[in-house]
């Protein structure tokens, strides 16, 4: 069959062009070395991530805490509204901490 013969010749050419290539001597050794290290790599990544998160939270918390007293002292923050509100995020937390942040709309500065 013509197609069969031509397929055979094609297959022969392809097999000749793409014969097996020897695996390098180093390949298996490097592969084994890489496979036996994944636990270290994972733990380093986890610790780095935890450290980065801790630094970020610390900076964030410190920034907010320093901003709050400054905001309260700033007269412009005192509201012109006549209402007086207090918003405790955490009922029993001291007011000068992040947990006990207070948003106070006060007329104290505006009482006539």
């Amino acid at each position: 069959m013509k197609n069969g013969k031509s397929d055979q010749l094609l297959d022969q050419l392809l097999r000749e062009a793409c014969g097996p290539v020897p695996v390098s001597a180093d390949f298996r050794r490097q592969l084994w070395g890489r496979l036996m290290k994944p636990a270290e790599v994972v733990s380093i990544s986890v610790w780095s991530g935890a450290l980065a998160a801790a630094v970020f939270l610390g900076v964030f918390t410190g920034t907010l805490q320093s901003a709050l007293p400054a905001a309260r002292a700033d007269g412009a923050v005192q509201s012109v509204l006549t209402r007086h509100e207090r918003w405790d995020l955490f009922a029993d937390a001291p007011h000068d901490t992040l947990a006990g942040s207070v948003i106070r709309l006060s007329t104290q500065g505006e009482k006539q």
Binding site: D7, L10, L13, E16, P20, V21, L31, P38
Partner: protein, 195 residues
């Protein structure tokens, strides 16, 4: 090509339990075939070694739970094919058309020295023509669309039966047959002068 020993269920369970000795045995049996399968897609030693490492890393970190009817080499070949095709897509995105090794170890990649040409012009011309013929064949395979490339390589080069190819690629045996037929048509058109 599937001259692999029958799956040893204890070995597969050892791999699943991340037993280093079981893993080493699997690596010794299959690292060559996995590397060569990747090489048939990528024609480049460095890329093929990278893919093979990726395959075994996946096996080690996320060992598959294989049903008794599924062979380990089927899973390894499937992951290798997918990883090789991904590598080819990355190359394409990077604008690299071919990255074919031209070294003495690749069939038809042997260098020809000027001295050899002078000493035996006819024989050396034949060697050069043969080298070009084989290089054209490898490039023709590289140009095949991905859905046709994998079935052709697994059938002609890995000599897997259609049923095994269907299991590796998760397509029907009929689809395997159609794709191989279409791949052969395209290759015949390109390589007619060499046949």
């Amino acid at each position: 090509m599937t001259g692999f020993p029958p799956d040893d269920r204890a070995l597969i369970e050892g791999v699943a339990a991340r037993d280093p000795e079981a893993f080493r045995t699997v690596m010794e049996q299959y690292s060559g075939p996995v590397f060569n399968l990747a090489y048939r897609f990528l024609s480049n030693r460095a890329d093929s070694e990278e893919v093979a490492q990726e395959v075994f890393l996946k096996l080690y970190l996320h060992p598959p739970v294989l049903r008794p009817s599924v062979k380990l080499f089927t899973w390894l070949y499937r992951v290798t094919v997918n990883a090789s095709l991904d590598a080819l897509r990355r190359r394409k995105r990077a604008g690299i058309a071919f990255s074919i090794d031209q070294t003495d170890e690749t069939p038809g990649g042997e260098t020809v020295s000027p001295g050899a040409l002078l000493a035996d012009p006819r024989g050396t011309r034949t060697q050069i023509e043969n080298r070009d013929r084989l290089r054209c064949a490898r490039e023709a395979i590289a140009r095949l669309p991905d859905p046709l490339k994998a079935p052709l390589i697994l059938s002609v080069l890995e000599e897997l039966p259609h049923s095994e190819i269907a299991a590796v690629l998760k397509i029907s045996p009929k689809a395997v047959e159609r794709r191989i037929h279409r791949a052969r048509q395209l290759l015949n058109d390109q390589l007619r002068s060499f046949l």
